[in-house]
Amino acid sequence: MSKARVATAWLEACSGCHMSFLDMDEGLLELAELIELVYSPLVDAKEFPEQVDVTLLSGGVGNEEQLELVRHIRPRTKLLVSLGDCAVTGNVPAMRNHIPVEQLLERTFVQEADLNPGAPEAVVSPLRPKVQPLHNFVEVDEYIVGCPPDAELIKFIVSELLQGRIPGRGVRSRFG
């Protein structure tokens, strides 16, 4: 049996969901028998490849680059999973949503700056007005909630998806 092609990425998130993924300990060895990790912050691939089976995305969409990445990924993966509260709800990054972006940048990079005041204009992608969940932009096949989701839960859902089952709301998990 050929190995399933799995990818992960994080957008507007803290990396905690990936830490939780790594937290499945020896479960990683079992998973490694079944999957090939083709793109992830944990591996070296620079370009998101074609024909991926399962993609786990953590984090909401908070800037233009992230939106581009999500739209790039969707047609290249069979199944897309929103991993963690940020991807599903916006979560903590979305706490800026009621503040206009200019005001936010002014406060952070001008008023609070000790050196070189001024919002970044190059290299980093411009912020979008709000941090929003992935499913606002692309179709999502499975949601894993939790901040972060439990390692066992991630393992269970990934194993189910690899066997062609979509657990959906049959799995109980909690926000936060």
Binding site: V88, P133, V140, R172, R174, G176
Partner: protein, 249 residues
């Protein structure tokens, strides 16, 4: 005065009227003045709810206790609908689940419920209900309202980001404590709970600092100062107070 006076004093109690009905196919009975929710709970049939608390008046604010009346197919809130003779009630179906889930999603979308950084994380009735009813994402856009936190009271605080307008605080303050510090201003999504005439809570002339509102809040909207993320615990006090008040009468 020809009729002999009865030795028993006090108001004449009307004979209790009993109604029989079916809830989820089970034959049950209750007193005529009882609601569907009360009778269901007495028979250990649980119905999801957020605004209802035994011991306070029922208002049907959250609508999560919607049940179906078989004869008409109508959905009614179980907490404010009295039982009727021969009534057939369905408390759970695909249709009811669909409505309950939509209601929950609207509650989550209306304010800023960030469970991960909330004092009530792990001890929140809204969060637990979302898990129980299988709400894994919110399909409507989040409103992300700019709402304040009032920490002017010396021990207690209100975070409007987490308020679901169940009005348990308003009712317990009025009906049990007798202070009526809390009330509601505005309509629809602009409605907010307020203290007195929308003064800061710390300036309230009516608040007795009893903390009953905090103990009954289903989410992290009302809490004791100094409570950190996921630290909030509620103490059950209303059943005891209600029982004592009954004995007194």
């Amino acid at each position: 005065m020809s009729t002999p006076s009865s030795p028993i004093r006090g108001p004449v109690e009307a004979p209790r009227q009993i109604r029989t009905l079916k809830i989820d196919g089970f034959d049950v009975s209750g007193r005529a003045e009882q609601t569907i929710l009360q009778v269901a709970l007495e028979h250990e049939i649980d119905i999801p709810r957020l605004c209802h608390v035994e011991g306070l008046s029922a208002i049907g604010a959250c609508r999560l206790c919607l049940v179906e009346i078989r004869a008409t197919g109508r959905l009614v809130p179980a907490c404010v609908t009295r039982i009727e003779e021969g009534m057939e009630v369905i408390t759970d179906s695909k249709r009811i689940q669909k409505y309950r889930r939509s209601l929950l999603e609207l509650l989550f979308a209306e304010r800023n419920h960030i469970c991960a950084v909330c004092v009530a994380n792990g001890n929140c009735e809204l969060q637990i209900l979302a898990e129980e009813l299988g709400m894994d994402h919110v399909r409507v856009p989040y409103l992300n309202p700019d709402v304040p936190v009032d920490a002017s009271h010396k021990q207690l605080a209100v975070d409007h980001n987490r308020c679901i307008l169940c009005t348990r605080c308003v009712r317990v303050c009025d009906e049990v404590e007798g202070a009526h510090t809390w009330d509601v201003e505005g309509r629809g999504v602009d409605a907010r709970i307020i203290t007195d005439m929308r003064q800061p809570w710390g300036d309230s002339g009516t608040c007795t600092n009893c903390g009953k509102c905090v103990e009954l809040c289903p989410t992290g909207a009302l809490f004791e100062k100094g409570t950190c993320v996921a630290e909030l615990e509620r103490r059950e006090f209303l059943p005891y107070l209600t029982a004592m008040r009954r004995t007194e009468q």
